[in-house]
Symmetry: C2
Subunit: 560 residues, 2 copies
Amino acid sequence: MEMLVRRGFLWQSFEIYGGMAGFIDYGPLGNGVRRKLENLWREFFVINERAVEIDTPTIGIEEVFIASGHASSFTDVAIECEECGKIFRADHYIKEKLGIEAEETIESVKEVMETYDLRCECGGKFKHPENINLMFSTTIGPGKGKKGYLRPETAQGIFIDFKRLADYFREKLPFGVTQIGRAYRNEISPRQGVIRLREFNQAELEYFVDPRNKTHPQFERYKEQKIKLVDKFDNEHYITLSEAVEKGIIAHELLAYFIAKTREFLLKAGLKDEKLRFRQHKDDERAHYAVDCWDAEALTSYGWVEIVGIADRSDYDLSKHTQYSGEDLSIFIPFKEPIKVKKKKVVPKMDKIGPTFKEKAKKIVELLEKAEPNEKIELEVDGEKIVLTTEYFEIKEVEEEVHGERIIPHVIEPSFGLDRITYSVLEHAFDKDIVDGEERRVLRLKRWMSPVQVAVLPLLSKDEFVNVAKRISEMLKANGIFTEYDDSGSIGRRYRRYDEIGTPFCITIDHQTLEDNTVTIRDRDTTKQVRVKIDELVGILKELLNSEKDIFEFGEVFKE
Amino acid sequence: MEMLVRRGFLWQSFEIYGGMAGFIDYGPLGNGVRRKLENLWREFFVINERAVEIDTPTIGIEEVFIASGHASSFTDVAIECEECGKIFRADHYIKEKLGIEAEETIESVKEVMETYDLRCECGGKFKHPENINLMFSTTIGPGKGKKGYLRPETAQGIFIDFKRLADYFREKLPFGVTQIGRAYRNEISPRQGVIRLREFNQAELEYFVDPRNKTHPQFERYKEQKIKLVDKFDNEHYITLSEAVEKGIIAHELLAYFIAKTREFLLKAGLKDEKLRFRQHKDDERAHYAVDCWDAEALTSYGWVEIVGIADRSDYDLSKHTQYSGEDLSIFIPFKEPIKVKKKKVVPKMDKIGPTFKEKAKKIVELLEKAEPNEKIELEVDGEKIVLTTEYFEIKEVEEEVHGERIIPHVIEPSFGLDRITYSVLEHAFDKDIVDGEERRVLRLKRWMSPVQVAVLPLLSKDEFVNVAKRISEMLKANGIFTEYDDSGSIGRRYRRYDEIGTPFCITIDHQTLEDNTVTIRDRDTTKQVRVKIDELVGILKELLNSEKDIFEFGEVFKE
């Protein structure tokens, strides 16, 4: 962590004003890694799925979170000291002081407090435990305005746009909708660090499917892969994904597909396979909306940390928003073949209605045709109640062709915590080795994840070297490559500096450059160098940065 | 706007709950354009400057905005009706009802209200006008917690990190720091639409410079370019940038540089030159922190709209944060040559101090050496006040070598409103023409700005066409190209569909494809087609999408 702060990856927010727990600043290098992670995620979960990305506000109006259940259920149990007024998150405080895993319910916390006579750090007694809502609240508009919350997840913005989105996809399931952006959780007493943040970055995919068909056309690609699973009974498995589905460890193929794809993504981002596992939520651990959930966990210096949650949210959210907004958020699914259904139907007797009701007859006929079949039918016509008996209509059984049905799709949601993944990527990449008899600190980031992709270094800080180096640096930048130019300190010290921040390639301008327009490319991991023509540099670097190719494919070994 | 909603560019937020003014959703296509705009901005203002990007929280603690002046000065004058309780932004209401441009001060609004007996729409009288702060406020942590605000600009997050940033750049000016992200302004009564949002997206560059050297090494590139300027006296100019600087219309070269670079960026994003101008803020219009400011304005259906502000913020922010945080936010600037400075210095007389003050002597000597030269010097030693005269010290004139000085850098800030730019790009791209005798709606987005870059269309929805088309679609996606596959409707209708959303290229799989593995590429703007080999498709499309090359460079004209 010291290196991460010193070199400009992550900083404590509001540092000059004393800092504030639960917030973090991405310095230039940390931001570079996270932005690259976002783009990689887009490639996996937007471009290469039948999916789109949208972007909705971080502030939401109250109605949204009443419907979603967050206004009532997005809570932690808190305990407040009667004396000093400090407030703690109950389960964390109990764990820390008593070493007990308490359930997160008021009753359970109360019991523990009484049994152990739990006191505040100041010696004071605690008040009764309370549920505290974890959404940040604010007011929209002047004066009393309208109550709003900062979103606790990006997902709700997707659910409330469902009609527009279904329209975009011409009502054809399955389809995915993603969002990458900020979410907020007003933690009661977060520790410093990147793991428990009050403001964080999510990338969420909401994958809408026909509930009777939780499969994915590309599951084939993954089904024979073996994977580390910890099920909800804490049993460990190392089996293929198709076995896990067959044995019912993973509820269905679609969850298994996203577990596998998540793993592929995390490995591509640079996490180490041996420090990665998937763990199923226990029955009492799931969020209020989830029916099954698997976490991807990374092993870090904080222990096993949840970095992705892959949940089957069923039709929970769309049903709730249908109920609260009054809008129909179902989708029409056509049958393969239309089916014939026998149905009772009201058939108005025109010869009776006409003469009796005169100018109201037309409306009555319309209403009758829509009415539920019954011996007596009550209608409201222009504010007047009219009760009709079978004198005015018949009930006939008819056969109708039905072409499909309306259903509320289910949602499978892989939800990624980008801050935790960024941190895990950095931790897994951190390495030390011995180079020229000296210990070297090196960040072995995947080349496509490095914030500074290339460093351009004149061997000496003389004009003739500097000018060429600056020209090359400008050329690389004009080609969209994140490049740093650096002429301060010995060449060895500069190599070390860029090794430490994970820059995969250093370009050195040396005496030979001035003779034959060649430079050397130095590989961070092997510290080996090859000599290439300046003219070919951009093409070679682009190829190297997007692959794990060996530099020796592009030039002759250079010996110092 | 209707097209933008229908086709999935921009939607009203919280639509199913009745909507809320001042918020907007980016649908799949709008999001695509804005994300591409962000990446283009990064290329211009991060990669190709001596600049980095950071990312800091959207929630800020109160201290930050007290220091920055936003807590007191980020306000609008509001008027509230005594009867119905409605609150309006005074200048907007006066403009709308009376057609008068009122100054945004309480006095001026009061005067207008009294002169014209201004009433609420309901007929009620207004209360006294009031300054209302436009920041969203919230509470961090449980209970009373700590007061926080949603940031009104991303810039403050950069200023308070200045020490870390200066360190990153090894204290060498000039350097730039950017941030791309959300900012918030709790508007009193915004109209619907994308122009006045309560939650919006900014891209800001804070460019820190030596105040005595407001130049840029790359100004050469732009200085002979002619540009449309409207100065603060409403005079219009069409002159070169170097003339504008020489005549003092633009305050200095660095502002001129960023005006020119902003223009280059906006044109590259697709704005029309004839609908773009730069306007200087009048003296009473500037934000509380700015000493000079130029807006880029785009002509849209809303009139001339401010889309970028380029301000010289001087040392306002760094000085304020130095003052409020107590941290030194200056930077050490070495002189080219050390200079010799004559200086008066206090030299303690050891032989007098020692015997008199005994064990306190050491401390007194230390304090004296740091004291201002004076006949009488008052010191505080261990809480005791001691007054010394020249009996105990001498004042000598000495010559010292000074290697540099500490200064607080000035900041030039180009600040981009990404939502307004996205909207302007869409409006400027909207076009109609006649194709095959029929009117066609076409969005002439720059190729690198199009959200759906390529559409893959089987001529007929038969298996043999569909299978090839899907395979090509997967191939393009695997190469990171935003691709849509579409087989519904006649080929002509599908072309129109993609013309309307600005997709530059349609790939058609036809009978000949099945014979010789070629497809056609159709150009949106000319509707012309060329035939190319499937094997070469990825390379050709990548080249086309990143340039304005003619498709005829890549294949023979195809005649239907």
